[in-house]
Amino acid sequence: MFSRLLSRLGLFAAPLFALVAAGCSKADLTVRQSTLDPKGPVAQMQYDVFMDTVWLVVVLFVLVGGLLVYAVVRFRSRPGETAAPIVEEGHGNPLVEIGLITASIGALVFIAVPTLSAIWYTDDVPAESVPKSKLSAWYGQPLDKAVAEQVLEIDVIGKQWWFRFEYPQLGLTNDAKHSVPNEMVIPKGVAVRINLRSEDVIHSFWIPKIAGKVDLMPGRKNRMWIQADQVGHYYGQCAEFCGDSHAYMLFRVEVLEPADFAKWVAAQKADAAPVAAGSKAEQGKNLFAAKSCVMCHNVGGHFGAGAFGPDLTHLASRKSLAGAWLDNRDPKAQRALEQTSPLGTEASVPVDRATFKANLIKWIGSSGIAAGADGQPTKDVKPGNRMHYYKMFNVAGLRETHQKLTADELDALAEYLLTLK
Amino acid sequence: MSQDAAHHAPTSTGIDHKKLIMWLFLASDCMFFGTLISTHLLYRKLYPTGFTDAEGHQQFVQKLFNIELTSFSTFILLMSSFLMALAVSAMHKGQLKSFRRNVVGVIFFGLIFLGCQVYEFTHFYHQGLTIQNSVLGSTFYVLTGTHGTHVAIGILWLVMLYFYSFTGKLGGHVGALDVEVAGLYWHFVDIVWIIIFTAVYLVEYLGPSGIWGNGLPVLAK
């Protein structure tokens, strides 16, 4: 009976094991959002605690699982055996029980200690990291004295379905018309404090290779700290269910050398260059105003009214679009690089203009206010996004009166946006 | 209210099914009110400044409450519990008339309590506290309103028992038990009110600005 069962189970189990064995070789531990490939002290600490639990569990698994298998095999009833059940009340064995309970508690202490130390370590920038991380230690530009003694702080504001990044110490804020949407930039090797806010529902900020997640709670101020020790392009994603397009709420983190970071900050503060008169881009710029884009979007130097939507002043320099869902780089080149580069997923190819333009047309064309090249609204890139649900803002009727974009207008708009380096 | 249990042989514990299930319900109801009261207290601690009155000024909750009236209605509810105890005792002795007299008293006092609550709600509403305009309004009305609903259900139950007593079917051990179970419920609702009265009303009077606030205006949320 049992052997028949065993062979039957084996029949099922064999392909399973084959699959697992085949899979393990493929299971790349350094994929884009891998938590097993830490690139900073916070993720490293979290990884170390995780590995502690893994080792504990492996040992327990072998012990308990082994005993279970042994018991099932050893104490199976043999064919022809007809003895009556053993009749005795199961009192157990106090010595065994207490021994096992004590052992379990001991095993848990093994993970409790690193857990506790990691909880405090990951809570805020540790004192030993502050001296080398304060702005005066690495940031070249002249700074306010009080600010210079602080570590860099970045405000992360979550909205359905994109992130806005602000650097209040460096003057990059939404109020100052210099906020940074969807692609956060941080300097390498120094601690950064992240302040998390939400303007609508709960979101969660997660860059697996740099730090575990902390939620953005509306009506509450959360905080975390991060540090990346390797230059590169990192992938992050909202990790708390936040409505229709939750899956499309991605973001990127660009880690730069401190000197490059300072240059980037200076560039962010610059306004957009004027567009050439009589160009297609100028036509697009006029459309940008006429079709109400300007109501939500800020373009430094061109339009300053918008504060609700992502700041577009430096749109054309960004590697992604639509909450980082659409990639503006050449996807093939990027995949090829990731497979060959020693840096793996942290390496990045530059923006590809053709891809970018196609993305822009797809994105704007799908937002309910414009038609695609064939005159029909394209499929939603991000269902429920605010460009679509314009009636949220009491500007009802815009769709019927002003919001039809022809394919040609869409093209002009994209040309204009691509000038915003 | 089910009388299914009446026929069964003596129970394993000697406690009647109906009494036991009422105790279990009350245990659950403790958690229910505990959650509501916690919600209220947590928000009081978080936003200690009170409420915005009809003129748009920040006000202490003390200004809103009419502690004399609430103390009176609390006293009335306590007295109703006393009458309820008399009604239960009358029922145990088989004195149906005395039971009816006392139960009418309980119902009457319960109605006075509800009347005070209705008056209080309207008064607060006109003073500017609504369920929509502040967290305090939400927690206060839902907490005390839920308690009021409990009182109203208790009154309905007692009214039913009162009329039932005229059918001649309310009597003996089973009848006394039915009344006793209703009494347990009534006493519980009273005790909960004592806690609400303390946690929601009285603590606002500890010190000049209540237990939560230490001066106005702290926060104009």
Partner: protein, 681 residues
């Protein structure tokens, strides 16, 4: 006194004379067929109904799961829309927890508890029927949201003014089973109609009222079971002689009555936010969304044990039976069950490690969570101790029970990993969590419940399920399950967040998602086969003896199917595992001199529990229709409350009724006693 039980005893309820209740209405005692099932107060029939509905919803929830997996099989799929996906996972979670596992556990509670403690019914038979119908109607309300959703997608409502006025048009809930505010709640100032802006449509209102109704059903049932277990034990059935399944029922019921009030209040507060513009969770008015999470998980974590403990109880019955050996360390198993239940109230915030609790609470909840691993481990050790030195007979229930231990152990291990809060901040809301709780709830609980179904099915219907089909189905379930959820450990660690309806190629998630989908379909086929086997058996299966497994507890001493009076004479117990002692040991089950020609008292059937519960149907449809803005929908709610109160009023006034049923003559030998041991006395 309102007893109507003075009639002469009858041999069958069909022989009863027509009889009016105190209300003057005929009692439905003499019904048969459908009317009998609708008015029944027999705990066994109620148990079967719970089981049938639970299996139906398991299949519906399973189909939802397969739709989810189909969407995720390949990157950038468009099998369903983003919103439909969100609705699918919301309803999948809600259905499996509240309409699948809980009612299936309730089916076992209902059928087994009175039999195991030697009682003839539960303490409040009509309340029991009320619980059943409240569950049925609540489940219907919840799932009716799909009908509205499909009607909306098909454009049936397009012509109506109320439909055109809706900003959000999700009719099936898309808020997740956890329903975090403010996504499920409001944001901003309420308008004159007391409606504040929100993020989700009436689907959430369906969800709120549906869960509220199901909560009433669970609470009423739990009061009843605690009362039954504490108060209706046969003579000699001390608390420490209770079968472990009954013990776990008791602990579970206590968890329900203490945990459900938190969600009830949270739902009331959320409902006030949505329907009346209150500010409990409205951040723009000072409400704290984190409060919703606390209230939800103060309920939600005990809920996990509400789901798991009954399965643990089932396994604790099956392992001794097929090991031919008493449960190892009975007192410790019972005690650890109670400790798990108690500690279950002290670990809720481990679901909230990423919400910014601060280091001290995080540390405290991390340590408490680790602590709960100890009693859980104790159970596994004791199950091991039970089979150790026994003689293990392999039968479908035993194989499933062993599978339960294995899968539950794996789920427990990943649970220990979550307790380390810093590691959890990487795993929270990733596929790793999905893998973890499916190992616990599917590999653990579902296998346990399936083991229970195969174990007690012969008792319930007197027919034996086909063992070969059962083995194949179990094999498919275990294989498919591991194939579906094993890879999710990797996916989570590779950074795939849960509740996302699609993902790009290039993240390294493609292959394992495909494997998981294949596994899910194998699992689906396995579960369907197992259920089909059972349904077939219920009607057509081969008859079997009343004690086919050499059972250990009182229910096996009864004929199969169990007669409506359960025990012809009330048993008097003198040992734990009373029936094993009776058959193989020295301590016999004695019987009281009741029943026989004098008959035993049977409760009357009644329409009132269903009528009262029917009020919930009106309330359940009325509240969401109010939220839709359908004119006069408020009156549906009002009439629902009226029906509910009228039902309870009539119920109270109709009198309990009851009649005397003759049972077979006094006999010291319980049915099913093996011939070998009958000769001994």
């Amino acid at each position: 006194m309102s007893h109507d039980a003075h009639h002469a005893p009858v041999a069958s309820k069909l022989e009863l004379a027509p009889e009016r209740s105190d209300l003057g209405l005929y009692r439905p005692d003499r019904t048969r067929g459908l009317l009998d099932w609708l008015t029944t107060v027999d705990h066994k029939k109620i148990g079967v109904l719970y089981g049938a509905f639970a299996m139906l919803y398991f299949l519906i929830g399973g189909l939802e799961a397969l739709a989810i997996r189909t969407q995720l099989a390949r990157p950038d799929q468009t099998f369903v829309t983003a919103r439909m996906y969100n609705q699918l996972f919301t309803m999948h979670g809600t259905t499996m927890i509240f309409l699948g596992v809980m009612p299936l556990s309730a089916a076992f509670f209902n059928f087994l508890v009175p039999l195991q403690i030697g009682a003839r019914d539960v303490a409040f038979p009509r309340l029991n029927a009320f619980s059943l119908w409240a569950f049925v109607f609540g489940a219907f309300v919840l799932n009716a949201s799909w009908l509205f959703e499909f009607g909306h997608l098909a454009g049936w409502f397009d012509g109506f003014a109320w439909h055109q006025a809706l900003t959000y048009t999700d009719f099936a809930p898309a808020n997740g089973w956890f329903s975090y505010a403010p996504l499920s709640g409001t944001f901003g100032q309420a308008n004159a109609a007391l409606q504040a802006p929100r993020f989700t449509g009436v689907g959430t209102d369906f969800w709120i009222i549906g869960i509220q109704i199901l909560g009433v059903a669970s609470l009423a049932a739990s009061f009843n079971f605690i009362c039954t277990i504490i108060n209706m034990r046969a003579k000699g059935m001390t608390m420490m002689r209770l079968p472990v399944f009954t013990w776990m029922t008791l602990v579970t019921s206590f968890l329900i009555i203490l945990a459900f009030p938190a969600i009830t209040v949270a739902l009331i507060e959320l409902m006030f936010d949505r329907q009346f513009g209150a500010n409990f969770f409205n951040p723009s008015a000072g409400g704290q969304p984190v409060l919703w999470q606390h209230l939800f998980w103060i309920f939600g974590h005990p809920e996990v044990y509400i789901l798991v403990l009954p399965a643990m109880g089932i396994v604790s019955e099956i392992l001794p039976t097929f090991s031919g050996k008493a449960l190892f360390g009975y007192p410790i198993i019972v005690f650890s069950g109670a400790v798990i239940g108690f500690l279950g109230f002290a670990v809720w915030s481990h679901h909230m490690f990423t919400t910014g609790l601060g280091p001290v609470p995080t540390a405290a909840f991390a340590l408490l969570t680790m602590a709960i691993a100890v009693p859980t481990g104790v159970k596994i050790f004791n199950w091991l101790g039970t089979i150790w030195g026994g003689r293990i007979r392999f039968t479908p229930p035993m194989v499933l029970a062993l599978g339960f231990i294995w899968m539950f152990m794996c789920g427990g291990f990943s649970g220990v990993m979550h307790s380390a809060a810093p590691a959890d901040s990487q795993q929270q809301d990733s596929y790793f969590v999905i893998a973890h709780f499916h190992y616990v709830l599917l590999g653990g609980v579902l296998l346990g419940l399936m083991a229970g179904l195969y174990f007690w099915f012969p008792k319930i219907f007197g027919r034996m399920p086909n063992a070969t089909v059962a083995y194949v189905a179990s094999g498919l379930v275990i294989l498919g399950f591991n194939l579906a959820f094993g890879p999710m450990h990797y996916l989570g660690l590779a950074g795939q967040p849960r509740r996302t309806h699609t993902y790009h190629a290039g993240n390294g998630w493609e292959d394992w998602n495909f494997v998981a989908t294949v596994g899910a379909f194998i699992l689906g086929i396995g579960v369907f086969m197992a259920f089909a086997n059972l349904v077939y058996t219920a009607f057509k299966g081969p008859k079997c003896s009343s004690d086919p497994w050499d059972g250990r507890t009182l229910e096996w001493s009864l004929p199969s199917p169990v007669p409506e009076y359960n025990f012809a004479q009330s048993p008097v117990v003198s040992a734990r595992d009373a029936f094993t002692e009776h058959k193989h040991g020295t301590k016999r089950i004695a019987y009281e001199a009741d029943g026989g020609e004098a008959g035993v008292h049977m409760p009357s059937q009644s329409w009132m529990p269903m009528l009262a519960a029917g009020g919930f149907l009106f309330i359940g449809f009325g509240m969401p229709m109010m939220a839709m803005g359908i004119p006069h929908a408020g009156w549906i709610v009002v009439s629902g409350v009226a029906v509910l109160f009228a039902g309870i009023w009539f119920w109270a006034l109709e009198g309990p009724g009851g009649y005397m049923l003759k049972t077979p003559a006094v006999s010291p030998t319980p049915a099913g006693t093996p011939a070998a041991s009958t000769s001994a006395h």
